[in-house]
């Protein structure tokens, strides 16, 4: 995958919580990447095996009277790959405008 600005932003948002479930809407907000860019990116990460996906338990959704939501989880391969992306981005001038603190926080795991 080419290291794009959007990829690094999504990588940082995912790596902020490497073992948690990520939901599309929150992920888009936290990463600041529009859904039109983020969803195709998530799909490519799924195809690469960096992410696994799943559906929220029916009971939980049923209580709130809404359809179940789809979530994404980092795989071990994904943690390694995205960690490398973020590391690479830190030494890349193109991404210097991304706040360093966020880049460092993204290094967790």
């Amino acid at each position: 995958m080419r290291r794009t600005y959007a990829l690094v932003q999504v990588a940082i948002a995912l790596m902020a919580d490497p073992s948690g479930r990520h939901w599309g809407y929150e992920l888009s907000k936290r990463s600041g990447v529009r859904p039109g860019v983020m969803y195709p990116l998530l799909q490519r990460m799924l195809d690469e095996g960096w992410l696994a996906d799943g559906w929220e338990e029916q009971a939980q959704a049923g209580r709130a009277k809404r359809p179940p939501r789809r979530y994404y989880k980092l795989t071990e391969a994904g943690m390694a790959a995205l960690g490398a992306e973020i590391n690479g981005a830190r030494s890349d001038a193109r991404f210097s405008s991304l706040p360093a603190s966020r880049l460092i926080r993204g290094e967790v795991a």
Binding site: R34, G36, G49
Partner: protein
């Protein structure tokens, strides 16, 4: 033309747009997700996400999803159409595959591959034509697990049997025709329930959306006539391909 533009920007239209986006974002979203192929999980996903968005933000969020539908949904549909056209065209490879099904039924395949030999990950990748990453991912998600020696996590000590490698190659071929992983999972589970000797007689037919199993040439012809089978994967042929590659490669005996 001029009047059309005037009509579009006129107040009633603006009123309708406000009504639709302001009061019925759910209905508009339902229209947007129609851009995706019917079995695409993104359809359900976006409808589910709507409820997570704060009510006041929903109209704006729905407008953003228009972009998702246009770029991702339509592109995916287009990609399937392209696969479709390519396999309908005079591709000599796919026609020979269809013909060989009949040959297989006559000849029958030797059941020479018992499960007494296992192959490590790298060899399985090589024989199936997939990347180590795909192999690892499929094993961990339970799509194709090594049956000779399963290994938890990403332990490299897995051993794949001949049949596993056959399935790996079939999954790869189905992916290449544009079938979704969900559909492939169903197909693999179905194949897993069958005896090894039956497998060689199966031809999987696909129209880029669904997978059909054919066990006789007549069924293949029926599907082709109905327009549902445009891409054939004869398991017997894949069998021989895998067999050819594996005889060149070292396997590990599993019994001590």
């Amino acid at each position: 033309m001029e009047s059309l533009i005037l009509q579009v920007i006129s107040w009633p239209m603006a009123g309708i747009a406000l009504l639709v986006f302001g009061f019925a974002p759910g209905a508009v979203l339902r229209l947007i997700v129609l851009a995706f192929p019917p079995d695409d999980p993104r359809r359900r996903e976006l409808l589910g996400e709507l409820y997570a968005v704060r009510r006041i933000e929903r109209p704006f969020w729905v407008i953003e999803q228009l972009e998702v539908g246009l770029f991702e949904g339509l592109r995916r549909r287009f990609a399937r159409r392209k696969n479709h056209d390519r396999s309908v065209g005079s591709d000599p490879d796919s026609t020979t595959e269809r013909v060989t099904v009949q040959g297989l039924l006559l000849g029958g395949l030797l059941n020479t591959h018992m499960d007494d030999v296992g192959y490590g990950g790298p060899i399985a990748c090589l024989a199936a034509g997939i990347t180590p990453r795909q192999l690892d991912y499929w094993a961990r998600t339970g799509l194709v697990e090594p049956t000779v020696r399963p290994a938890p996590g990403s332990n490299p000590q897995r051993l794949y049997g001949f049949r596993d490698i056959l399935v790996l190659k079939v999954v790869k071929r189905l992916l290449d025709t544009g079938i979704s992983l969900q559909q492939i999972r169903t197909a693999v589970e179905h194949l897993g329930a069958q005896g090894t000797s039956d497998l060689a007689q199966v031809t999987l037919m696909s129209d880029g959306i669904s997978v059909y199993e054919c066990t006789s040439p007549d069924e293949v012809v029926d599907l082709l006539a109905g327009g549902q089978g445009v891409y054939g994967i004869a398991l017997g042929r894949i069998w021989r391909e895998v067999d050819g590659v594996l005889t060149e490669l070292p396997g590990e005996p599993t019994s001590p």
